[in-house]
């Protein structure tokens, strides 16, 4: 660990000297180039804390590695859910998105929060009652079918890789800004930190770290708001409410006195458009489709669902969703404040303002360079904790569901743990390679993660819990339909087929409103057509799982 810190510092010192080229931004919204000593020290100190926590939560059993020994309470698990969820993209990107997309962008906020209600009501407690390791295992056991298990594990891995890759955009921005190093070096640096502590500690370390990371990231995110809102003419008591007045003012053309205090009529027309419902493109169908897709995608994300295995009992599982959602809400109630204040000071900015709207906040608030380091640690924490959660989920899909269950059912616990660590490293390498050569359409591919989860995992999981006749044939048919349609829509989007564009009839990133209900129907119809094909033995196994899911009295099996 010490060696690593020395290594990190050397790396930083070496690269800091060369990385001075940074384009100057807008007047208020600019970030200073070059290596920043105080912030860098603070950031390295927090990284050392993560590694230390990882080291002291060392584990020796597979259940410790995968599901944190099931000893995590409701606040802890809630904070871990929130930290898992709040990626670098949420931390830095949502405010920028709201800055650019105005009212329509709020669809992301309700999509990403409303999904937790579905997860809580339909799946959380049942998943805990089942109580094993992974989502693929849950689906595989419930449908008594290795194909279902493998499809689910594959989807888990696809989601883990695409989603984790995207995190490095945010991480690269932060490291580049603090250390003055370029994107490639930032990726290697952050990946090194993440991988080191994950390999040392597994899920227990990740979960403990995620609690620390949540505290750092949410406080770093919230503190500047109080100062900024005062600078914008508020009282500085509750920025999340006070920005409403500024927003109303914006829609009537009032902006910061520093830039003239009033908008020209053309500027006013543009700003008003953005904050009116349909002014930034899209109509009610697109809004609903987006919200629905993000919701069931959220409820179907394996690395979020697996959180319910890490708690003591289903009561804690339920309450940790409540707390998780509240912790997530704190971030999403505050993101629009940054967006609206951005408009207040910079009504006509484009992506160059949106990209650094959070990172430049402490400078505008005059919080000093120590705080910059703290905020950067928060952003880095957000990115790293999400990557860590994804890698654990992805590696467990490979090691637990592919290796230990299907290919080598006789492997020992030690072997499984070893394979788990190997695959964590392998996945991390894949992510690094993809992140170093990011596909041009990285944002689109990430959006696909939600569509895939919503179209494949969510219908299969809901029917697994709530429809006893649903069987493996139905599940396979439904999942293949969901996966195919998602991939089709995505390729269509990338090839610029009009129907799959953001304003088409089946927008690729919002495809679930149409595809997922059909996946439900296909699963149900095929299951009913194939009821006779299920063997007596398979029926008995499924029946046992179903009874467990719903706390029904055990099956009295007469041999």
């Amino acid at each position: 660990m010490k060696n690593f810190r020395v290594f990190g510092l050397t790396l930083v010192a070496l690269l800091g000297a060369t990385g001075l080229a940074f384009a100057a931004g807008e007047e208020i919204y600019q970030i200073q180039p070059g290596f920043k000593k105080t912030p860098a020290m603070i950031m390295l100190a927090t990284l050392a804390v993560y590694l230390g926590v990882g080291f002291f939560s060392k584990v020796s059993s597979p259940s410790g590695y995968w599901v944190a020994g099931r000893g995590i309470g409701k606040f802890g698990n809630g904070a871990a859910i929130a930290s898992d969820w709040m990626s670098a993209a949420s931390f830095m990107g949502v405010a920028g998105l709201l800055y650019l997309k105005g009212w329509f962008g709020l669809g992301y906020i309700i999509g990403w929060t409303g999904g937790y209600v579905l997860l809580l009501v339909l799946l959380a407690a049942q998943i805990r009652r089942f109580g094993k390791f992974t989502i693929a295992e849950f689906l595989g056991d419930r449908y008594d079918c290795h194909s279902v298990r493998l499809i689910a594990a594959t989807v888990t891995v696809i989601i883990a890789i695409t989603y984790a890759t995207a995190q490095f955009k945010g991480i690269g921005l932060v490291c580049g800004w603090i250390f003055g190093i370029d994107y490639n070096d930032s990726v290697l640096f952050a990946a090194g930190v993440t991988l080191t502590y994950m390999l040392i500690s597994g899920m227990t370390g990740v979960t403990r770290n995620q609690q620390i990371q949540y505290v750092i990231l949410i406080s770093a995110f919230l503190i500047p708001l109080w100062i900024l809102i005062e600078k914008a003419g508020g009282v500085g008591i509750l920025p999340q409410i006070e920005y409403g007045k500024i927003l109303s003012g914006l829609m009537e053309g009032e902006v910061s006195p520093a830039i003239g205090g009033a908008l020209t009529p053309e500027q006013l027309a543009t700003v008003r458009r953005e904050f009116l419902p349909w002014g930034t493109g899209g109509n009610i169908y697109h809004f609903i489709a987006l919200v629905f897709t993000l919701m069931i995608g959220t409820a179907g994300l394996p690395h979020i669902m697996v959180r319910f295995y890490t708690v003591k009992n289903e009561d804690v599982a339920r309450k940790s969703v409540l707390w998780g959602l509240f912790f997530i809400g704190l971030l999403y109630w505050s993101s629009p404040v940054y967006a609206v204040l951005g408009k207040f000071w910079h009504p006509m900015g484009g992506t160059e303002v949106a990209d650094i709207i959070i990172l430049s906040a402490p400078e505008r608030a005059g919080l000093g360079s120590a705080f910059l380091g703290y905020l950067a640690s928060g952003a880095l924490a957000a990115g790293i904790s999400t990557v860590a959660g994804l890698l654990v989920a992805g590696a467990s899909a490979v090691a637990h569901d592919w290796y230990a269950t299907v290919f080598r059912p006789d492997s020992s616990e030690g072997q499984q743990l070893f394979i788990g660590r190997v695959f964590t490293a392998v996945l991390c390498l894949i992510v690094i390679v993809t992140a170093l050569n990011p596909p041009a359409l990285i944002a689109q591919i990430v959006a696909m993660a939600f569509a895939v989860a919503g179209n494949t995992i969510f219908p299969a999981a809901v029917l697994a819990v709530w429809y006893s006749r649903s069987n493996k044939y139905g599940a396979i048919a439904g999942m293949i339909w969901g996966l195919t349609m998602t991939l089709l829509a995505m390729s269509g989007w990338i090839l610029r087929v009009p129907a799959f564009q953001a304003d088409g009839i089946l927008p690729a990133t919002s495809s679930a409103l149409i595809v997922a209900p059909l996946a439900f129907v296909i699963n149900i119809v095929v299951s009913n057509l194939t009821t006779d094909k299920i063997t007596e033995e398979s029926r008995a196994k499924m029946d046992n799982v179903l009874r467990k899911l719903h706390n029904l009295p055990g099956r009295v099996d007469t041999p």
Partner: protein, 110 residues
């Protein structure tokens, strides 16, 4: 004796009394969820249909609530606060259900 029959149920046809209560709790919460997620956007859409410019301006965008344009507040905070409260409601309903089911001594799921 014939072998035991598999349990048969769906969300709409729960198998036991305890499942029936669980489903009722879930449907109550889902009803509110549906209203928040889709009812409010549709209301904003319907109200804005009269706007000839197609931007959806209406009494909801002109009204002010806590200083906010109402249509913005409803989505940015109304819905999300609503979701947190719904989760709280669900937890309360479950607690009550378990207290009924297991009596004063029982601890759910422990």
């Amino acid at each position: 004796m014939s072998p035991p029959k598999e349990v048969q149920f769906s969300f709409f046809r729960p198998a036991t009394e305890s499942m029936r209560r669980e489903v009722r709790t879930a449907s109550t919460v889902l009803l509110f969820w549906f209203f928040l997620s889709f009812g409010i956007p549709v209301a904003i859409w319907l109200a804005g249909l009269g706007d000839p410019s197609g931007l959806g301006e209406s009494f909801l965008t002109r009204a002010r609530f806590l200083g906010f344009p109402l249509h913005y507040w409803l989505i940015a905070q109304g819905c999300t606060i609503g979701y947190v409260l719904l989760c709280k409601l669900y937890c309360l309903l479950c607690d009550r259900r378990f207290r009924h089911a297991s009596g004063p001594a029982g601890r759910p799921g422990a």
